[in-house]
């Protein structure tokens, strides 16, 4: 099944640094079960999902445009965000060591996890050491990525998601389909159904009014907050200068987890480190405006180590690599690590809007997911690795680049990943076709001959001059679109013909005549 990921020529270079490892095949949630086009076709059949997504992304797009448009220095903020992230990644090792030093000085414990398996093992050990068989969780992409919940359950520990949307997903035995709004694919009626079925002792007359649904979840969660002794969080930012961790959220459930339990375990991807406390100034403006379309998120929690008599008395920070060093070693991957997980690119992506997050098969869906996922987990762990279809899950329309608060040039990165993909796949039918096309198009004479051959396509056309059904691989196209038959004459035929020369002369004369008319009529507004 698996294939080594060597990219070299096969010769050995003694003393050369090894390529950092990607996420091992089969670990965590960075690889779907089927290629994007197939998975997308399944999702596209779900009309309800399409409506839910269209409505949600449309609303959030409008909100984002309103709050970014009101800032006169939005572009400068984006530049600042990009520069700060680039700087942080360029000196990641020293910043991480500084972070470790500061966290330790403030009474915390830092753990380094090479991959998801190590991180899962560390968290499990810490929960058991705290004598607990359950944890409350703050919404976290990193723990989704490594499949922490599944791992904890296998170890007999029950994880309780406390973010409302994450809770809906968990109770629905579902997977999140959006970075920011994990239950974006569900509407309020579906949520009511889930709550009625899964929350013990819920009022059977519960209706689908959002406030009532939220109240039902709140009553359910309140008990968990009061009784659970260990919490697991992610982190939006880790400040090297002070050892401070930060989480931004909307509901305050995260803050309950961060303050009530005795033990707090934070799992943070190593790319989340920022040099200075002051840098938050930029990101606390960029993130909420880009993600929820709000000027400020309702809850921002910052915590530094342990404070005696206040909050968790035992704090652990797990620094997660899981393919990030491999991404950092790659020019494409390094740019992708600038991502602050705001999900703006998902909300503006026409592909995401139609198919939703599940089709991407990864914790990270949408345009940035199509870049990040292959970077962290590789594209060729198997011959038909679904991840190798992700760079093609885009029309390269560029909306994501315009929306990205840290100016990640996602379309260019996708083009680059496609190149890496074709280089890794070696000889394929597609490559041969591309090579043949280039061979013809590189030689004008062959190209003119090919154009003549193309005109034979006219035979396929109906009376209206269009071609209906085409054979594979064009059948997907011709299922919904007519194709014009090639006209009798190419442009080059016309241009070289007497008719073409005469038409161009006439046009020039006509233009000259009209310019003369305008001059005599005293009209200064010459069109040339």
């Amino acid at each position: 099944m698996s294939r080594p990921e060597s990219r070299g020529t096969g010769s050995t270079f003694l003393g050369m640094p090894a390529r950092p490892p990607r996420v091992p095949y089969g670990d965590g949630n960075l690889r779907g079960e089927e290629a994007f086009p197939r998975a997308a076709a399944g999702e596209l059949r779900n009309e309800q999902l399409r409506r839910n997504l269209g409505r949600a992304t449309g609303t959030i797009r409008g909100k984002r445009l309103a709050v970014t448009g009101e800032l006169p220095d939005w572009e400068e903020l984006r530049d600042a965000g990009a520069a700060l992230k680039t700087d942080a990644l360029n000196r990641l090792p020293e910043l991480l060591e500084e972070l470790e030093r500061k966290v330790t000085e403030r009474g915390g414990t830092v753990h380094w996890a090479r991959d998801g398996a190590e991180a899962n093992a560390i968290v499990t050990r810490l929960v058991k050491a705290a004598g607990s068989d359950e944890v409350i969780k703050v919404k976290s992409m990193a723990t989704q990525e490594i499949g922490l919940n599944e791992h904890l359950e296998d170890a007999g520990i029950t994880p309780w998601e406390t973010d409302l949307a994450e809770l809906i997903v968990q109770l629905g035995h579902d997977r999140p389909s959006h970075i920011l709004v994990p239950a974006i694919h569900r509407n309020r009626d579906e949520i009511r159904e889930i709550f009625l079925k899964e929350i013990p002792g819920v009022d059977p007359s519960l209706d689908s009014v959002p406030a009532h649904l939220a109240a039902a979840a709140r009553a359910y969660l309140r008990e968990k907050f009061m009784t659970t002794r260990v919490a697991v969080s992610g982190a939006n930012f880790g400040i090297a200068e002070t050892g401070t961790l930060g989480v931004v959220e909307s509901e305050g459930n995260g803050r309950m987890c961060l303050t009530l339990p005795e033990t707090l375990i934070t799992v943070m991807g190593i790319e989340k480190v920022l040099p200075r406390h002051q840098d938050l100034e930029v990101f606390l403006q960029l993130l909420p405006r880009s993600s929820t379309g709000e000027r400020m998120n309702p809850y921002t929690s910052l915590w530094t180590g342990v404070t005696e008599g206040d909050g968790p008395q035992d704090f652990h920070l797990v620094l997660l690599d899981n393919g990030r060093t491999a991404a950092l070693a790659d020019a494409v991957g390094r740019q992708a690590l600038n991502c602050i997980r705001c999900s703006a690119c998902l909300n503006v992506c026409p592909v995401y809007e139609r198919v939703g997050g599940h089709a991407y098969g990864s914790t990270y869906p949408g345009p940035i997911g199509a870049v990040l996922t292959p970077q962290l987990a590789g594209m060729h762990a198997a011959d038909d690795d679904p991840n190798s279809s992700l760079p093609y899950a885009s029309t390269l329309c560029g909306a994501c680049y315009d929306a990205c608060p840290v100016k990640i040039d996602i379309p260019s990165l996708l083009v680059e990943l496609r190149h890496q993909k074709t280089e890794e796949s070696g000889r394929s039918a597609e490559r041969l076709a591309m090579r043949a096309a280039a061979a013809v198009m590189g030689r004008p004479r062959l190209w003119t001959a090919a154009q003549r051959t193309a005109r034979l396509g006219r035979a396929l056309a109906g009376r209206d001059g269009t071609i209906g059904r085409l054979p594979a691989p064009f059948s997907g196209w011709s299922d919904t679109r007519d194709t014009p038959a090639p006209p009798k004459h190419t442009f080059r035929d016309w241009f070289a013909s007497d008719e073409g020369a005469a038409a161009l002369r006439d046009a020039a004369r006509e233009g000259e005549r009209r310019r003369a008319e305008r001059r005599t009529s005293g009209d200064d507004q010459e069109d040339q």
């Binding site: 086009p37 198919v355 329309c397 909306a399 196209w477 679109r481």
Partner: protein
Amino acid sequence: MRIGLFATCLGDTLFPDAVRATALLLARLGHEVVFPPEQTCCGQMHVNTGYQREPVPLVRNFADTFGDASVDAVVMPSGSCAGSVRHQHEIVAERYGDPALRTAVAGVKAKTYELSELLVDVLGVTDVGAYFPHRVTYHPTCHSLRMLRVGDKPLRLLRAVEGIDLVELEQADSCCGFGGTFALKNADTSAAMLRDKMRHVTATGADVCTAGDSSCLMHIGGGLSRIGAGTRTLHLAQVLAATRTAPYALTEAVR
């Protein structure tokens, strides 16, 4: 001005009327149009599909054909092909080309324009003297909009057309779903995007949906043709080339 016309492979073969309109329009504006017959394709399809070695001969051919100093500017009736020349040829030359190719690519890139850019920015004209008494809606293609940043130049050109009834397209800046080989590799998703685009186009009640890229128009027009919609697609150059003496007849075949 002496303007080199790059027909693009698709324009030359499938949409010669759009290229012809470009040539006639520029001639009418008093410019000399040159068509070097050595030209073929910009290689965008290759690069966008992930192949950067294969199009080296195409990049070289483009630079050789249009690098000629006697041509003041190179124009093409395609935002995506102009985007390819301006943003992708460098990548290909940097990776697989020689220093001479890199120099040639940089030189030709600097004088390459999409049609609306050439008209407004270089030739300084927004009223091209066109006459098009029909209801028209405009779809700004993604690469014109976000790769070249043509902004409202095409709309300024259209607004100056005599007799035109220009109607706004809802969610105009949303992609039509073509994306080159995307329409083949992700046919179902592409079709879903096309359906929404067609819904917005037909809702305008326009006779004509125009754009600056034949490939996007082939996609939208192919869909409209399949559902038997009343709106047809026409390249921006064809709208701008129509005059009172040489009007465009809507009864003509789409091509």
